[in-house]
Amino acid sequence: MKIMAVCGSGLGSSFMVEMNIKKVLKKLNIDAEVTHADLASAIPDEADLFVMTKDLAASSGIPSAKLIVLNNIIDINDLESKLAEYFKIN
């Protein structure tokens, strides 16, 4: 399982998202490799699940089944509920 946090430049906001994903996975007791990257590096084969903001999701070309869309990068509760939902289905 590989999860990729994505932002425009691949070193600012995506790193913040990566940190929050790691916190949530620990809480949910789920093992996964988490990385961060820029939008150009986010191609569907690179990870099992991609996390990015609504602003980027439309132009990412990632299929919706592999995508978690955040409205707010800081909101860890929103991230937790969306990740929990993803792992319930997958």
Binding site: S9, L11, G12, S13, M19, L56, S59, I73, I74
Partner: protein, 147 residues
């Protein structure tokens, strides 16, 4: 410690700005004056925003503009501009933005501690309300010094 980077020199407060570009330009002044970034860095942020949208607007009221190290960063740095009346960044969910925190990272790892501390600050909604309502730079510093 965020107060290593955020000081009376690098934090500013302004009532209003014309648009998001001016907000970024003004937030960058302290870093430009110190040679931490070059003017190219600001242009790189503008270009990426125009290409893919406001990728650096993190949460309601909070923006963290940044580009790649090779686009004009000389050293690690951070600056903060509070726009009291807010400014639109064309972010559907998170406009208006009040706090612009400009990030300058010279490589892909030296800013990670700084970002960890910033993420903690941005997640503390009560403390962020204090920053949004700050009247003076010292009001902001009082909050920043806790992180």
């Amino acid at each position: 410690m965020l107060s290593t980077w955020l000081t009376t020199q690098t934090i500013n407060i302004i009532d209003s700005v014309d648009d998001w570009k001016q907000a970024i330009r003004l937030s960058a002044v302290p870093l430009l004056e110190e040679g931490i970034i070059s003017p190219d860095y600001i242009q790189a942020i503008y270009h990426l925003h125009e290409k893919i949208g406001p990728y650096y607007v993190l949460a309601p009221g909070i923006a963290m503009p940044h580009a790649r190290p090779e686009e004009g960063v000389n050293q690690l740095g951070l600056s903060m501009l509070l726009v009291k009346n807010g400014v639109k960044f064309n972010s559907i969910e998170n406009d208006p933005v009040y706090l612009i925190t400009l990030l300058a990272a010279p490589d892909s790892s030296s800013h990670l501690q700084m970002l960890t501390e910033l993420a903690e600050l941005f997640s503390a909604s009560d403390e962020m309300q204090k920053i949004f309502k700050a009247q003076t730079v010292d009001d902001i510093l009082t909050v920043v010094k806790q992180y």
